[in-house]
């Protein structure tokens, strides 16, 4: 096929940043909502982490722990209450939308609800072309209709959908296919960072694997960086290089995927890993966590997890632990972390 020079394909210039500079740095971010009666909901309560280029950070936790709110804060879809979000060395926390808009090309999101995130009254081709119509090429020109059409075909191939899909409406697809469309839309502008907000939790298990594999393939072939949000450790294990475990608005454990999943040090992480069903007959059953996740409006004093912790001590009720390094690349927020020697 002969196409004119694919102006669309050209990604924004990869920055001068060396491999040592994180693509995304989150510093002590808070997101609070004021409720009635003077109460405040602290959805994200002091979170810090960095994501290096090419890395996949898995963000896990129960529903309501603030992981989706955090994900939206990362892309400035929510404004943070305090803290800093630094993208590629640039503080974007307070950038006005007008200045942020060109930067948005480099950071995209895939949403959980594949139906709600696609306008039901617009064809897939129209939806995918929209970002190209509002942004300009790196040399400041408009994308030509030819280049847009070419780019859309490329994307369809990338996410394994037939070209005819471009002519169709979102309701004509299955959940998995729609999520492919969402992924394609997130990739239209050749972003560097993709935040995936529970992209597979609404899908059938068989389809989940396909979509996670697609994410993994795209990450490798396009050199993408992901923040991959999930409540399912099995999903995160497949794709993440590092894992952050969130509980009630804070990160309780952060480390390499293997370390966190096989040698978890926080009692909460241990409970999560044990909650993953094992396909082995006679595999030992573990007592599930007791009780519900406490309300983020009235958080427990001291360590937030002490109300449900199987190893709770008096100190936990009064003093909040901070995220501390217990090994290289492994940090835990617990007064009595379970160390490798005791937890085999």
């Amino acid at each position: 096929m002969q196409f004119p020079s694919p102006t669309v394909q050209a990604a924004p210039p990869r920055s001068s940043s060396g491999a040592t500079q994180p693509l995304l740095a989150v510093r002590d971010v808070y997101k609070t909502y004021s409720l009635k009666h003077g109460q405040t909901l602290r959805a994200v309560d002091g979170v810090s982490f960095t994501v290096m280029p090419g890395e996949v950070l898995g963000l896990v936790g129960e529903s309501g722990c603030g992981k989706s709110t955090l994900g939206r804060c990362l892309l400035r879809l929510n404004d943070v209450s305090a803290g800093q979000i630094i993208f590629d060395g640039q503080d974007i926390t307070r950038l006005p939308e007008r200045i942020l808009r060109p930067l948005r090309q480099q950071m995209q999101m895939v949403f959980q609800d594949s139906y709600a995130s696609l306008n039901p009254r617009r064809r897939i081709g129209d939806l995918l072309a929209e970002p190209l119509r509002v942004h300009r090429t790196p040399d400041g020109r408009k994308h030509t209709p030819m280049a847009i059409a070419h780019r859309l075909e490329e994307l369809m191939e990338l996410v394994s959908l037939p070209r005819a899909a471009l002519e169709r409406y979102p309701h004509e697809f299955s959940g998995g296919q729609r999520q492919r469309v969402n992924i394609a839309r997130a990739l239209v502008l050749s972003p560097r960072l993709v935040v995936a907000d529970e992209p597979v939790s609404a899908l059938d298990v068989s389809v989940q694997a396909q979509i996670v594999n697609l994410f993994a393939d795209l990450q490798k072939s396009l050199g993408l960086t992901y923040v991959f949000i999930a409540h399912d450790l099995a999903v995160v294990r497949q794709i993440s290089t590092r894992v952050a475990v969130m509980y009630l608005g804070v990160i309780v454990e952060l480390g390499e995927t293997d370390t966190v999943l096989h040698n978890p040090a926080h009692p909460y992480t241990i409970a999560l890993t044990q909650a993953v069903p094992r396909p082995v007959v006679g595999a030992p059953r573990h007592a599930p966590l007791r009780g519900e996740i406490p309300s983020p409006v009235n958080k427990p004093s001291g360590c937030r997890f002490h109300t449900r912790c199987p190893a709770v001590q008096t100190r936990c009720q009064n003093e909040a632990p901070t995220l501390t390094q217990i090994a290289p690349n492994h940090a835990v927020a617990c007064h009595y972390p379970v160390l490798k020697s005791t937890h085999a």
Binding site: R72, L75, L77, R101, P102, R104, Q105, Q108, M109, F111, D113, A116, S117, L118, N119, P120, R121, R122, R123, E130, P131, V134, H135, P162, A164, A165, E167, R168, Y169, H171, E172, F173, S174, Q177, N182, R185, V188, L189
Partner: protein, 335 residues
């Protein structure tokens, strides 16, 4: 849920599939036929008056005569009471001339009914469109921008809402009917149809704007709007490309219902002689003409009354049909 086949046939858009499901709705089709008949008949009013009824429905004809069955008959006839006191206009003749009889000025009711239909339908249609445009703008602005914009617009709507519609319309009409409307250098004469159109559109704006605002508030939270923001789509473009197409169904469904309400309002104002001004006719003015003849020549008031009922009923059925047809997800389920 149908999965895309491998054919290259583009799928029907939401409007096309809505039209298809509307075409399967017999009640809606029947009402469209009724409306079409009345509109076409009204458009033919000058033709009817000149070539079929041979009459000028805008000139008083109390001394005139017509030929009925070879006999010259007075248009104003002595009453049927024993003493034959007073005169009544001729009743329905069953002939092309004065088919439905005459009014107290000896004018052909059928011809006036058709001319009146032109004005009534034109005013109610234009008022409905104008109202939808204003309500759409107000509702989208209030719903999407929220905050102070929403507060100012919503309070303004509440104030208008607090005044009874007809009282509001009557007050505005009385003010404008004497002096016309002066907007800067433009003067709209008191007998201009624009005056009832603007007044009727204005008084119904709160009724149409509120549901639009509610829909927009829901849409603003929709994930596809967040997705558009995430893609860097400017706000005005989100309004035009993502919000408006989803609100347009609400507006389209409201259209016929608004037109029905506008028709009733126009008839009411004209009946009170503060709408369409004599000698022009509207269904409301003809009912007013028939008021004094209600015991002797009830057809003068009944004919325009029936026309109003037919149109309002048809518009309501059409509105219901549109509401059923325009649910996108429903349409996909039915196929």
């Amino acid at each position: 849920m149908t999965k895309p086949s491998n054919t290259h046939k583009p799928s029907a858009g939401p409007w096309a599939s809505a039209l298809r499901s509307l075409l399967r709705n017999r009640a809606a089709l029947a009402s469209v036929a009724v409306l079409a008949f009345i509109v076409v008949a009204s458009l033919c009013a000058p033709f009817y008056a000149r070539h079929i009824a041979h009459t000028d429905p805008f000139v008083s004809n109390v001394a005139g005569t017509i030929m009925l069955n070879g006999q010259e008959t007075d248009i104003m006839q002595p009453n049927d009471n024993p003493l034959h006191l007073g005169l009544s206009p001729i009743g329905p003749t069953g002939h092309t001339a004065y088919l439905l009889g005459a009014d107290s000025q000896g004018r052909d009711i059928m011809a006036r009914l058709l001319y009146g239909g032109r004005n009534s339908l034109l005013i109610s249609f234009s008022a409905a469109i104008l109202c939808l445009v204003m309500a759409g703008t107000v509702g989208i602005a209030a719903g999407f921008f929220g905050g102070v914009t929403d507060m100012v617009l919503s309070r303004l709507m509440d104030i208008m809402w607090a005044v009874p519609v007809y009282l509001f319309a009557i007050s505005l009409s009385i003010v404008t009917i004497t002096s016309g409307l002066r907007i800067g250098p433009f003067v709209i004469e008191a007998d201009n149809l624009l005056i009832p159109i603007v007044i009727i559109a204005l008084v119904y704006v709160p009724y149409a704007a509120r549901p639009v605002r509610g829909r927009v508030i829901a849409l603003r939270q929709a994930e596809f709007v967040t997705a558009a923001k995430c893609l860097g789509v400017p706000r005005w473009r989100i309004v035009l490309r993502d919000i408006l197409p989803n609100v347009s169904t609400t507006l389209v469904v409201m259209g016929p219902l608004l037109m029905a309400m506008a028709l009733l309002a126009e008839s009411a104002l004209s009946f009170l002689s503060i709408g369409v001004q004599a000698p022009a006719a509207s269904w409301g003015t003809i009912i007013l003409d028939g008021e004094g003849l209600i015991y002797t020549r009830p057809m003068v008031a009944i004919a325009p009354g029936l026309a109003i009922v037919a149109v309002v009923l048809a518009l309501n059925i059409l509105g219901d049909g549109l509401r059923d047809a325009l649910d996108v997800r429903d349409a996909s389920r039915r196929e």
